[in-house]
């Protein structure tokens, strides 16, 4: 109840400023801290992720932005020494609640990684993997339908439709990353987390993926970690700046890039450090 009221309060405040009545808070982090063993990597991060918007996490290497991202779908659980404190909610539900099934959470909060990591299977099987394990398709025809629509949403269908049975590892780097996005879309997530999705891609492939991200926000909520200021400016509506494990500043992207409150943000954006 407490969270709900706070949520509403913030919504009212931000709604008044940006004049978007449908701005719903999809995920919310409160006092999020992460420890790797004894070392604390993230300190008291309070951050909201708004529905159907792209939230960019920026900051120099090692600032904790990827760590925060991996908290959102509990990928940090796969690291033995990692420990998360604070509270993260998805539609108001605490994702670290012991009653939450992590498998279900990850189906709702999908992830695309820094390096394209298609499975050593065919393109079709790569996309069909998620729907199969979650039983989303009743028969082959439905599965085909999911694969096709996911590849279309990921803007890969035209390039891949004639080679669905060829290995996904045979695609080019940019195509592989779009395949990974299609794979994430195929389980119909609500939120897609992207951890520097373009860092291994050339500018042309990057442009395609960015275009795709822009389209995807119609249906999904996206959180993207990026090292590229231009990318953050191009694709995101909200930007959060991290530094040394702390959230420095968070706000609308236009404001962050033109008139940031914090000097560190200004310095980072203008290339004075990082």
């Amino acid at each position: 109840m407490n969270i709900m009221s706070q949520e509403k309060l913030e919504e009212a405040v931000s709604g008044g400023m940006t004049a978007k009545p449908n701005e719903v808070i999809k995920m919310q982090g409160r006092k999020v801290g992460v420890f790797y063993g004894d070392k604390q990597a993230l300190f008291d991060v309070d951050l909201d992720v708004r529905q159907n918007q792209v939230t960019a996490l920026i900051g120099p290497s090692g600032c904790g932005k990827s760590t925060f991202l991996r908290c959102l779908n509990r990928m940090n659980d796969t690291i033995d020494s990692a420990r998360v404190t604070g509270k993260i909610t998805l539609d108001g539900e605490d994702v670290y609640d012991p009653k939450i099934d992590v498998v279900e959470l990850r189906a709702r909060v999908g992830m695309v990684f820094q390096k394209p990591n298609p499975f050593p299977k065919s393109i079709y099987e790569n996309v069909a993997y998620g729907p199969k394990i979650h039983g989303l398709a009743k028969n082959k025809a439905e599965l085909d339908q999911i694969v096709e629509s996911s590849l279309k949403k990921a803007a890969l269908w035209n390039e891949a439709k004639d080679r669905l049975n060829e290995p996904g590892t045979g695609l080019s780097g940019g195509q592989q990353q779009r395949l990974c996005i299609a794979r994430a879309i195929a389980v119909s997530p609500e939120v897609i987390l992207m951890d520097e999705p373009c860092s291994a891609l050339d500018p042309i492939a990057t442009a395609k993926v960015e275009e795709l991200i822009d389209e995807l926000k119609q249906n999904y909520t996206i959180v993207i970690v990026t090292h590229s200021m231009q990318q953050a400016a191009r694709v995101s509506q909200r930007t959060a700046m991290f530094h040394l494990g702390y959230l420095v500043e968070e706000g609308a992207t236009d404001k962050m890039f033109t008139n940031p409150d914090d000097k560190r943000t200004q310095d980072y954006i203008t290339g004075r450090f990082g």
Binding site: M75, V103, N117, Y129, G130
Partner: protein, 488 residues
């Protein structure tokens, strides 16, 4: 003066050349020209020039002179006939050699007044601890004495030549030291040749083994037709006595090959599931503390000598299974003490660590990105293992299984003790069957004449075994290599 002293002197010259060469090169640094190589390279190059040709000469000279001595002595032996006291010429040669060696134990004074007959000589030699064949002949004494002095001369000549070569090499090496001399390149080239030579040793040895086996195998096939060997279903070498005309069908390979493959199959049926599952557990589930105990413990299992497994099978497991089956069947046991099952089971236990440690390496080599990708889509750990990790690791695992299979096929001690020696052709795993390796042991450890087909068949069996495991290893390596390409 034994060759070992010359060897030591040559090395000492080499070391001296190194020290002098390095010093000289160091003295040249700081001159007008920049040095091409650092001083220790000049030192090493001088060492190599001094030591390597001389060492090579010593080796070649030693081999050559012992070959020469053999022919030299043999030429002096009288013609051997059937009624000579010693029928074989090679036997006589051996006697002269051991006599010559024994004479070296005598001091100079005793050598000067050597008795003419072996009967008088023997006590003196025996007192020095040299035991000789009693039928050593009197005529061998002068031959042996002469052989000793000839070989001394040869050795001295060789040694002096080697020393001269070493000194010459050292002088050349030291003289050639100049600021622009490319000592580093020379040293690196020699090291490269040394590395190449080391890797050639394994290959050449393999080739040598195969050739010697092939030679004896052709010998065997000149007595027994190949078709009878490869397609014969009866293994009964005893009845095929040397000289018997109908000996062809009795060296049938089929029962042995069948036994070998059957036992290997049972072993793999035990080792592969258990080993694979333990590898999955260790690679994917085990916490670091469990892994740090279980993995070394499994590898300890791999360190147990196979003969110990064989003893376990023979003394403990075999009788236990026999008694158990007797109790189950109410009276007569249906599992024999020596059986395919016993041997295969124990061999399987032996192979578990092989499978598990190979597969563990392969599973952990699957990139973390694959795991993250699958887990990030909401797959459970076991779904990730079943659908992503194992398929990705499959080619590597198949390779590991094939490598394990070739170990199972070549395994000897367990089957010698646990499988029995009866060359049956049966499908019942509780009966005894025998393997190729067991028969090789049997055929070579008997007191049969070496040239008889009974002994020569061991070489044919050996080369068959070699061919089978070679093919499996090639296939395994091919698969493993293809698997590696997938992630590069």
């Amino acid at each position: 003066m034994p060759m070992i002293y010359f060897l030591a002197i040559v090395l000492a010259i080499g070391v001296a050349a190194y020290i002098i060469g390095r010093g000289r090169a160091a003295a040249q640094t700081g001159g007008a020209q920049k040095q091409h190589s650092r001083p220790h390279y000049h030192g090493w190059w001088a060492f190599m020039l001094a030591a390597l040709p001389a060492l090579l000469l010593i080796i070649v000279w030693s081999v050559g002179s012992s070959l020469y001595m053999e022919r030299h002595v043999e030429a002096q032996l009288p013609e051997q006939t059937a009624d000579s006291p010693i029928a074989s010429r090679s036997l006589a040669l051996g006697m002269v050699k051991s006599l010559a060696n024994a004479l070296r134990r005598l001091d100079a004074q005793a050598l000067d007044n050597l008795p003419a007959t072996f009967a008088e000589l023997q006590p003196a030699l025996a007192a020095k601890g040299a035991a000789l064949a009693p039928d050593t002949q009197d005529y061998m004494i002068p031959i042996a004495t002469e052989a000793n002095s000839t070989s001394d001369t040869l050795r001295l000549t060789g040694g002096v030549l080697a020393l001269a070569l070493a000194l010459g090499g050292a002088a050349l090496g030291i003289r050639s030291i100049q600021p622009r001399a490319r000592a580093r390149n020379n040293v690196e080239r020699v090291v490269l040749w040394g590395l190449l030579g080391s890797s050639m040793i394994a290959i050449l040895t393999t080739v040598g083994i195969v050739l010697s086996m092939l030679f004896e195998t052709f010998h065997f096939f000149s007595v027994v037709p190949p078709a009878g060997f490869f397609f014969g279903t009866v293994w009964d070498p005893r009845f095929a006595a040397a000289g018997a005309t109908d000996s062809a069908g009795q060296f049938g390979l089929i029962p042995l090959l069948a036994g070998t493959l059957y036992i290997a199959l049972v072993a793999l049926l035990v080792a592969v599931p258990v080993g694979l599952m333990s590898a999955v557990y260790m690679a994917e589930y085990a916490s670091r503390s469990v892994r740090s105990v279980v993995k070394p413990a499994l590898e300890l299992l791999a360190g147990i000598p196979t003969i110990v497994y064989g003893i376990f099978a023979l003394v403990t497991l075999g009788p236990f299974l026999r008694d158990l089956s007797a109790a189950l069947a109410g009276g007569s046991p249906f599992i024999q003490a020596q059986s395919i099952f016993t041997a295969g089971f124990v061999m399987g236990i032996m192979l578990i660590p092989v499978v598990s440690s190979l597969s563990d390496d392969i599973i952990t080599a699957v990139p973390r990105a694959m795991r993250d990708g699958s887990l990030g889509l909401g797959a459970t750990r076991s779904e990730t293992i079943k659908r992503v990790i194992l398929p990705a690791a499959l080619p590597g695992i198949v390779g590991a299984i094939l490598l394990t299979a070739s170990r199972a096929i070549g395994e000897t001690m367990i089957v010698v003790l646990a499988a029995g020696v009866a060359a049956n052709l049966t499908l019942n795993p509780f009966e005894a069957m025998t393997t190729i390796t067991v028969k090789i042991v049997n055929q070579l450890t008997g007191d049969l004449e070496f040239n008889s087909p009974q002994t020569l068949v061991a070489f044919a069996l050996g080369i068959t075994l070699f061919a089978v495991t070679l093919v499996m290893n090639i296939v395994a390596l091919y698969i493993v290599r293809k698997y590696r390409e997938q992630y590069e």
